[in-house]
Amino acid sequence: MEMFTAIGLNHFLTISALLFGFGMFAVMTRKNAIVILMGVELILNAANINFLAFSKYNGGMEGVMISLFVIVLAAAEAAVALAIVINIFKTFKTVDVSSVDTMKE
């Protein structure tokens, strides 16, 4: 009972791992570019959780600051990514990334 009631670092790490895994799964397997972007957001959030958790239990400000920057960059990333997806859609009339493989050979 102790280990459940006393919320510790491992709880947060576990959640972040799950989020990361889900995000990874989405990125790996979903065909819809937008869903992939969502997966990316999940991964970033998982990272943020880790940063903050570590900075809380080490009593430093670094994790806090970096997570702040991560959020900012995530915003930028989302904007650019969306724009790209829209361009892809304009070009290929689809957002299915499996059909967008002109890089092949």
Binding site: V27, M28, V97, K104, E105
Partner: protein, 776 residues
């Protein structure tokens, strides 16, 4: 400066050549195919030759007469080891030359004349006269030339012209074979002669008779005497070929394929005479052994061909073998040292044999080219002129006294006897014995021939018809449409009534030649040709062979430096008186013997400087009358035998033939010489040539191609190694890179997610590694 006779003789030499050149090119354009050109040229030539004969024989009447002229034909410059070297060609005229010149041109002229009748209407009429021209030309060349080289050249030219004339009816295969056979057989003889010439040249670097004689006399012959004998025998081989001596006699009977006038020319005047004449020319260098060899050959030839002549049916073949036999006589005469007698016989024989051939030609002509005596007979009435002349010539050939043949043949036989005696009798008597035996047979077969042809009844109808037709077919090309008769008459039983005497152009030569067969032309004494001008003017020259040369080195030293024309004079100076004295019967013999002793005593004198020759001469005259009696006996025997057999039929020839069939066949088939040669030499060389060709294509060329094949194989192996191993390695590298690239390419899907998976896998891999590390 050139002697006028020389100039004349050159004209005589060139006229027949001119006629050849003109006729060979223009015979079709000229009227009468230009036969008048040939006859005219020969007529002129004969006139000139007669003038030469007159001025030499009649005016000079000098046994030693001789004019010579030569020019540098080749100039070798200054040859290392020899010094200045030239090959000279030239002309020499002495008594013998003058006589031969007249004889050849006369007979050639007569043959020309005769041919205008005999060959009339032949489609190659003109060409025939052209060939006669070149034949005469080359014979005259032989007569006139003064050196071995030019005589060899004309010698071969005679071969060529005989080739052309024998094969005149070249469309007939037998004629084509005969001409080839004649040329090749002569070639065989010629290489012997050529080798003889080479032996002499290799010693003296000259071809001229006189220089060679001079050198030999001076003992400059550096090889052993065996070589000299060999040279003599080899030179004699030329004569064997041309004069149809055993073993090269085979071509002469086949030469009968030529037109009959040609046979006359070949047998009497030109070709066969050349051989004997040549041996006469080189007589002085013949060593004793060579002479023995020659005598033997002559005797054998005479005997063998006489035996063959007995059984032949073809009128011309009988004459052909009689010619061979007579030539055997001449050669034998030369061999036994009866030089003058042999050449005398050459002359007399020329006339009566020409007469015989032209006569037989007349008969054949009249009988529409029937040549088989079995189907003739009874022509005496139809052809009186021919009959008369033919019989005279026959008697001359058989050697009846009062004919020319008697004198010459008798002289030869006397020489043979003397020879045997000189050589010490014994085995040497084989030669005179053979001689007399052939005399007997000569009388017999000539009697047989005359009887079969002229006496009895016509046997034309006995001839099997088809053979008759074959005969006509075989001669179909032969002078057709020339004779005035229709051909049908040729077939009928009434042939003799269809047979008429030939025209005057063919009759005239017969008459002339017959008259020239009478003794008086040559000698006042019908029993002794030795009293005649010929024996006087053509004496036996003294031999120069080294063995005997030692005896009179002094004499030669005396005129060693004289010009070549003079070189041989000295011995000839010696000869005539000798001959004259010797021929004056018994007391002379003693004289000769005495002088001979003297000669032996004082080294060199007016008589023969060679002891052996002197002795021969002595013995010959000792045996003179023996020879006369014997030969006359033989003649009588032979003729009477012929009469007995063919007139009275006391002996049936058929039965006799059956009785002695093997002998008969042996003779009838000419001792099977043709078969023997055919089986050995011809088959042999054919086989050899086949095998050579096989060797060439299969062995040598096979070897070459084999090398090529091996090389190709190796090259191929090398190539495949290069292709499959070396190149293969390179290609394999490329292939490996390519395939692996192709595999890798599959990974390159272009899907970002795949790449992500890869990354993830890598991370997991790192995890795994990390865990393993932890385990330890």
């Amino acid at each position: 400066m050139m002697h006028s006779l020389i100039q004349l003789s050159i004209v005589v030499l060139l006229l027949p050549l001119l006629s050849f050149v003109v006729l060979i090119f223009f015979n079709r354009k000229l009227p009468r195919m230009g036969d008048f050109v040939g006859v005219g040229m020969l007529g002129t030539a004969f006139a000139l030759a007669l003038y030469i004969f007159w001025s030499v024989i009649v005016q000079q009447y000098d046994p030693a007469f001789k004019v010579a002229w030569n020019f540098t034909w080749l100039d070798f410059g200054n040859v290392p080891g020899v010094g200045p070297l030239q090959v000279k060609m030239g002309i020499v005229i002495d008594n013998l030359t003058a006589i031969m010149l007249a004889m050849v041109t006369l007979i050639s002229l007569l043959v020309h004349l005769y041919s205008t009748g005999y060959m009339a209407g032949d489609k190659n009429y003109g060409r025939f006269f052209a060939y006669l021209g070149i034949f005469t030309f080359s014979m005259l060349g032989i007569v006139l030339s003064d050196n071995l080289f030019s005589i060899y050249m004309f010698w071969e030219l005679v071969g060529l012209s005989s080739y052309l004339l024998i094969g005149f009816y070249f469309e007939k295969d037998s004629a084509a074979d005969a001409q080839k056979k004649a040329f090749l057989t002569n070639r065989v003889g010629d290489i012997g002669m050529w080798l003889g010439i080479l032996i002499l040249y290799s010693q003296f670097h000259t071809f001229s008779y006189d220089e060679i004689f001079q050198n030999i006399a001076a003992g400059k012959f550096n090889l052993s005497n065996g070589w000299l004998t060999a040279a003599g025998i080899l030179l004699f081989f030329g004569c064997v070929g041309k004069s149809a001596q055993f073993p090269l006699h085979i071509w002469l009977p086949d030469a009968m394929e030529g037109p009959t006038p040609v046979s006359a020319l070949i047998h009497a005047a030109t070709m066969v005479a050349a051989g004997v004449y040549f041996v006469g020319r080189i007589f002085v260098i013949l060593s004793v052994d060579a002479l023995h060899y020659i005598a033997l050959i002559g005797a054998v030839t005479a005997f063998m061909s006489a035996t063959i002549a007995i059984t032949q049916h073809d009128i011309k073949r009988v004459l052909a073998y009689s010619t061979v036999s007579q030539l055997g006589y001449m050669v034998m005469g030369l061999g036994v040292g009866a030089y003058s007698a042999a050449l005398f016989h050459l002359l007399t024989h020329a006339f009566f044999k020409a007469c015989l051939f032209l006569g037989s030609g007349a008969i054949i002509h009249a009988m529409h080219h029937e040549q088989d005596m079995r189907w003739m007979g009874g022509l005496r009435k139809n052809m009186p002129w021919t009959f008369a002349t033919f019989s005279i010539a026959t008697l001359a050939l058989a050697g009846l006294p009062l004919t020319s043949g008697f004198m010459s043949k008798d002289a030869i036989l006397a020489g043979a006897l003397g020879f045997a005696a000189t050589e010490g009798g014994g085995i040497y008597y084989i030669i005179p014995v053979l001689g007399f035996a052939s005399a007997l047979m000569t009388a017999f077969y000539m009697g047989r021939q005359v009887w079969l042809v002229f006496f009895g009844e016509s046997r034309t109808h006995l001839k099997p018809a088809e053979e008759h037709h074959d005969d006509h077919a075989a001669h179909g090309h032969d002078a057709h449409g020339n004779d005035a008769f229709d051909h049908s008459s040729g077939h009928g039983h009434d042939a003799p009534h269809g047979v008429h005497e030939v025209g005057w152009v063919m009759r005239l030569p017969l008459v002339i030649l017959a008259t020239l067969s009478i003794f008086i032309v040559f000698s006042p004494d019908p029993l002794d040709g030795g009293k005649g001008w010929f024996m006087h003017l053509v004496p036996t020259p003294s031999t120069v062979v080294k063995s005997s040369a030692i005896a009179h080195e002094g004499a030669l030293a005396a005129h060693g430096e004289q010009p070549s024309a003079e070189a041989v004079k000295a011995p000839e100076h010696a000869a005539p008186e000798n001959a004259v004295q010797a021929t004056t019967g018994e007391h002379a013999v003693a004289a000769v013997a005495g002088e001979h002793v003297a000669a032996a005593g004082e080294g060199h004198g007016p008589v023969f400087t060679d002891a052996r020759q002197a002795e021969l001469l002595h013995a010959t005259h000792a045996n003179h009358y023996t020879a006369i009696y014997l030969s006359s006996g033989m003649l009588a025997l032979g003729l009477s035998l012929a009469l007995v057999v063919y007139k009275f039929g006391a002996i049936d020839p058929e039965k006799t033939a059956q009785a002695i069939r093997p002998l008969y066949l042996y003779s009838f088939n000419k001792w099977y010489w043709d078969e023997i040669y055919n089986a050995t030499f011809i088959k042999g060389s054919m086989l050899l040539s086949k095998s050579c060709a096989w060797f060439d294509t299969n062995i040598i060329d096979g070897f070459v191609n084999g090398i090529a094949t091996v090389y190709r194989k190796v090259a191929f192996a090398n190539g495949s190694f290069d292709k499959y191993v070396v190149d293969g390695f390179v290609n394999f590298t490329a292939f490996f890179v390519q395939t692996s690239g192709a595999v890798m390419r599959k990974i390159q899907t272009g899907k970002v997610q795949t790449y992500l998976v890869m990354v993830l896998l890598a991370v997991l891999g790192y995890f795994a590694y990390y865990l393993v590390q932890l385990m330890k």
